[in-house]
Amino acid sequence: MSDTPLLKVENLKTQFFTEAGTVQAVDGVSFTVERGEIVGLVGESGAGKSVAVRSILRLIDSPGHIVGGEITFDGKTVVGFEDEPGTDGEPTRREEMLTNTEMRSQIRGSEIALIFQDPMESLNPVFTVGGQLRELIELNRGLSKQAARDRAIEILREVGIPQPAERFDDYPHQFSGGMRQRVLIAMALGCEPKLIVADEPTTALDVTVEGQILDLVYDLQDKYDASFLWVTHDMGIVAEICDRVNVMYLGEVVERASVDDLFYNPQHPYTEALLNSIPRPDQSTEDLQPLEGAMPEPINPPSGCRFHDRCPEAREVCQRTHPDLRTVTEAGQYAACLKHDAFEAAYETSRPLTDESPAAGGDRRE
C-alpha cells in the first residue's frame, strides 16, 4: 500500500456545459500526492486549479460534470469510468466508484479536508465557532458531546487561538480574518484526515498573518503527518512550503517539477514567464518582463499548444501539435513543450512565430 501514492489523479476532465458552449475547465490533468508531501498546484486565475481540487472531492455542481479520468485515494476509487461510454453517450461509472453517500461518509472531512480561501463563507454565521467544530468532530469521529468539546478546545489551542475555552462560544464575526482561517484549519484537522486540500487559504490574509499560518501548517504537518495539496498563485508561498509543484495553464498541467528545479531550471516557457513577472521583496528588480496578453477563455482554447499565442518561444509547429506532459530532464522533470527533444516535433526547423503575427493584429496587446 505504502508505495502507491496517497492520491492519484489521472487524465481528469471536468467540463461545464453552458449556453455559450462547453467550458473545458480541466482538460486531462494528472498528478499525484505522496504521503507526507506538500504538493503545489500553481497558476493564474482561470487556469482550472479550483475546479481540479473540487473534482477530487466531487464537489462540482451542475452545469459542471466530471466527464473523464480516474481519481484514486488511498485505495478507493473517487472517480472512475468505464472505457466505453454507455448507450446514451454519457460516461458510465465503474462499479467501484464511490456513491455520493459514501463520499460524504467516508471521504469528505474524515479522509480529505478542504480549506477555502474565504473563511467567512465557510463558517456559518449563526452558529458559534466552537459549536461548529464540535459537531464536526462528533459526527466524524463518533465521540460523545463532551469529549468532542474537549477535543475541539484542544485543537483550537493547537492552531493558536488565544483563550480557546473562552472563545469557544463566540460567533465567527467576533474573530479576525486570520483567526477564522485558523478555525478552518482546526476544522480540517479535527478529523485527522490523511489529505488536506488548501485552496488559496492565505490569499485574503495580511503577510504577517500569512506567515503565522504557514508556520502553523509546518508544525501541524509534522505532528499529524498529513499530506497537503496546496492551490495558490503566489510563487513566494510555493517556494516556501511545497515539495513538488504542478503548474497549470488553461486547464492543463504544463510543468511538474521539484520546487528547486522549478525555480532554478524551469522547462516550460510559461513557468519561466511567470517567474520573470514577479517583483521580488528581497532584491530590487529593474525591469519586470510580463507575459503579453491575458489567458484565453477555456471555452475555445487555442489550437496546438494552448500557450502558443503568448509564448515568446512559439514556433509554427506549436500551432498544430498539442504537446502532452513528458519527462524532459534526467532529473525527472516534466514539461509539455515541443521545444524539448522528447517530443521529436521538428521544433528546431520550424519557423518562429514571434516576429510576425498579422492574424492576431492589434488585439494581441492586453
Binding site: V209, G211, H233, E240, P279, D282
Partner: protein, 439 residues
C-alpha cells in the same frame, strides 16, 4: 484659486505634497443616542455619554517630491486607504493640513477644491466597480475633461483615443463597454480616465491587488512608462511589499494609523530600522526555494484602532520591547519574561504547578528579586486558574512600565544616518530610550 502666486515659482524647491499632522477619526456609534450607554446601578444617572472613536489616521506627516513615487505600505486596517481618501478630500480630515503645490486643500472651499481636483486623480483597487457599466469607454475617459471644461467635443475624443494608446489599449476600443474588457484592461481604462485631465499627482490605492501576477507586471510597467511620459507624481498604496519595492522611490510604513518609518526604498528594504518594518519584511515568503526558513513570524493581531495601546502602538507585538528601566534584567531574561507574558495572555499552556511553569519559561531564577516576586505571583495566579489577575499583574508590573508604553515615540531622523529623510518612530533609535541590541 486665491493664492495663485505661491506655486509656480516655488514648486522647484517645495515638495509637491506636504501633509502635516493629518488625523481622521470616525465616530463609531450610530444614531442620535448611539453614543449613550445605559447602565442602571441605582446610584447615579443611568445614562453616560461615551462616544467611541475609531482613530483611523492619527497625526501623519510626510512629503512627496515632484516626480517621485512614495510607496505606502501596511497591513489591512492600518489606515492606508483612509489616508488616501483624506488626502484627496474625499473625506474631510479631523485635523491637520494637506499642502498641495503650496495650497492647503483642507481649507479650500468646495468649488475651489473641485477645480483643484483637476491636478489630483485617484485609481481604485477594484477595476470593475470603478467603471460605470452603462457608459462607453470613450464617454468614461472624456467625463473628467467635460467636468473641468477642457477642450471641445472633437478635442476630447482625440485626446481619449491618444490616451487609450498611451495606456496600451487600442483607439478603436473607444466605442466599447467596460464588460467587454478583462480586469487588467479595465485598470488601464481607469488610468486613461485619470490621466485625461493632465494631473500632476495620482493616488493609486492597491491598483494591482485584484490582478494576476502576469497582468500586474504589465500594469506596473505601464505605470512607470506613464510616469516618465507625463511627469507624474505617485502615491502608491499597497500591502504587497514586493510591488512596493519595485515601484517606489521612497517608502512610508504605516501601523495602526501612524507612520512608523519613512525612507529611501533600498535603504529601508536593506536595513529596516523599526521593529515593525523588520518584522514585516522578514515575514514575506521569498520566491526562492533556497532561502526557505529564513522567514520569521510576527505574533498576534493588530489591536483595535478604537482603543490603541498607549505609547508606541506597536509595543503589544514588538519583539524588541524595551525592558522597564527600574528593573535590573538581562536581555535573555527579559525575552523569557515577555514569552511568559504572551503565553499567560493567550492562556496557551496548562497551569499545573508553579515550579514546572517557572522551569518551562525561565532559565533559572531572575537576578532582580522584585521581578522574580512578580513572576512567581503571576504564576501562582495561573495555577489558581485566575488568568485575568495574572495577566493584569504582568501587564502593570512589566509591559506598562516600559518606556514604550509610557511615551509615544515621534517620527525622527536617525542619528548617524547620512540622509535626513530617513525617519523612524521607535525608542530604540530616539533620544529617550537607550539604544539596545535585540536578540
Amino acid at each position: 484659486m486665491t493664492d495663485v502666486s505661491s506655486h509656480p515659482e516655488e514648486s522647484e524647491e517645495d515638495p509637491l505634497v506636504r501633509v502635516s499632522g493629518l488625523t481622521k477619526h470616525f465616530d463609531n456609534s450610530s444614531g442620535l443616542l448611539g453614543s449613550y450607554e445605559f447602565a442602571p446601578d441605582g446610584l447615579s444617572f443611568p445614562f453616560t455619554h461615551n462616544p467611541e472613536t475609531v482613530r483611523a489616521v492619527d497625526g501623519v506627516s510626510f512629503e512627496i517630491e515632484q516626480g517621485e513615487t512614495l510607496g505606502l505600505v501596511g497591513e489591512s486596517g492600518c489606515g492606508k486607504s483612509t489616508l488616501a481618501r483624506v488626502l484627496l478630500q474625499l473625506l474631510s480630515p479631523t485635523d491637520g493640513d494637506i499642502h498641495f503645490q503650496g495650497e492647503n486643500l483642507a481649507e479650500l472651499s468646495n468649488e475651489a477644491l473641485r477645480q483643484r481636483r483637476e491636478d489630483i486623480q485617484m485609481i481604485f483597487q477594484d477595476p470593475q466597480s470603478s467603471l460605470d457599466p452603462r457608459m462607453k469607454i470613450g464617454a468614461i475617459i472624456e467625463e473628467p475633461m467635460e467636468a473641468h471644461g477642457l477642450r471641445d467635443a472633437t478635442g476630447r475624443e482625440q485626446r481619449a483615443k491618444e490616451l487609450l494608446e498611451s495606456v496600451g489599449l487600442e483607439p478603436q476600443y473607444y466605442d466599447r463597454y467596460p464588460h467587454e474588457f478583462s480586469g487588467g484592461q479595465r485598470q488601464r481604462i481607469n488610468l486613461a480616465r485619470a490621466l485625461s485631465v493632465d494631473p500632476d499627482f495620482v493616488v493609486l490605492d492597491e491598483p494591482t491587488s485584484a490582478l494576476d501576477v502576469s497582468i500586474q507586471a504589465q500594469i506596473l510597467n505601464t505605470l512607470q512608462d506613464l510616469q516618465t511620459e507625463f511627469g507624474l507624481t505617485y502615491l502608491f498604496i499597497s500591502h504587497d511589499l514586493s510591488v512596493i519595492r519595485h515601484i517606489s522611490d521612497r517608502v512610508a510604513v504605516m501601523y495602526l494609523g501612524e507612520l512608523v518609518e519613512v525612507g529611501d526604498v533600498d535603504r529601508l528594504f536593506e536595513d529596516p530600522r523599526h521593529p515593525y518594518t523588520q518584522a514585516l519584511l522578514s515575514s514575506i515568503p521569498v520566491p526562492d526555494p533556497r532561502s526557505r526558513g529564513e522567514r520569521s513570524v510576527l505574533h498576534g493581531d493588530v489591536p483595535s484602532p478604537i482603543n490603541p495601546p498607549s505609547g508606541c502602538r506597536f509595543r503589544t507585538r514588538c519583539p524588541a520591547l524595551i525592558a522597564p528601566a527600574e528593573y535590573d534584567i538581562s536581555g535573555s531574561e527579559w525575552a523569557d519574561v515577555r514569552e511568559l507574558i504572551r503565553a499567560v495572555d493567550r492562556r496557551s499552556f496548562d497551569a499545573d504547578s508553579v515550579s514546572h511553569i517557572q522551569e518551562q519559561f525561565l532559565d533559572g531564577r531572575l537576578t532582580d528579586t522584585r521581578c522574580q516576586e512578580v513572576v512567581t505571583e503571576a504564576i501562582e495566579h495561573t495555577v489558581a486558574d485566575e488568568w485575568e489577575r495574572a495577566t493584569e499583574l504582568l501587564q502593570t508590573e512589566f509591559a506598562e512600565k516600559s518606556v514604550c508604553a509610557e511615551t509615544a515615540p515621534s517620527l525622527d531622523s536617525i542619528t548617524g544616518e547620512p540622509t535626513t529623510d530617513r525617519r523612524v518612530a521607535c525608542h530604540l533609535h530616539g533620544s529617550e530610550g537607550e539604544p539596545i541590541q535585540h536578540e
